[in-house]
Amino acid sequence: MDWQGQKLAEHLMQILLVSFALGAFVTGYIVGSFQLMLLIYAAGVVLTSLFTVPNWPWFNKHPLTWLEPVEAERHPKPEKPVAPVGKKKSTKQK
């Protein structure tokens, strides 16, 4: 899942859950059935998890493009700054 996909998945999850909850509450209140509210909400949670949890293709539409390795080689890392060395260390290194 790419960056945009992550954002989309998170937003979708929140929006879907909240709207299912509102729908469930309103329906349950009008019908007068607490059980119906819970059932609708449970179905909503299952649907939302099916829709936003797996790594679906529509979350991978903006793949990150990395620099080519050749491009990276043209700009080599600066060498490690040589640490000031004492007597002992310098002898050991040699």
Binding site: M1, Q6, A9, E10, M13, Q14, L17, V18, A21, A24, F25, G28, Y29, V31, G32, S33, F34, M37, Y41, V45, T48, S49, T52, V53, P54, N55
Partner: protein, 166 residues
Amino acid sequence: MHSFLYRLNALLTFSLIILALICGMASFSDNFNTPSPSVDLKVLNVNWFHKQHGNDEVSLTFSVEADLQSLFTWNTKQIFVFVAAEYETPKNALNQISLWDGIIPSKDSAKFSIQVSNKYRFTDQGSNLRGKPFNLTLHWHVMPKTGKMFADKIVTSSYRLPDEYR
């Protein structure tokens, strides 16, 4: 990082928070219900009335006629009702003795009319019951599916116990 389990965890956590919220809203919606219960309690007979171990005890037969259907909302699980005899003695400003109780599981059975003798003993602390006026009161506790429990009562007209033991 943004793995399957991470998303599943986030979803379950968020869904449970929302579940708690809608349960809170359901409990809150009970406040919009304005119940109009009606109760009629009548003492039909004083079966016996005597003094035992220094304490007055009486057995009554009474009728309970109640319509508590308006107490039921979509968030009501059941209603607990009990009939109490309430009277005043020199020692205690309010004595409450539960005579009968019951659980109403559904709206359909919330309108009922029964005649019963007291299920629990009507015994005084002492011998103050001769000629004592008392109230029969129907108390109820509305037990919701989620949230706040409501309790209320209706006091019905006063009766007087007989002046002599029988």
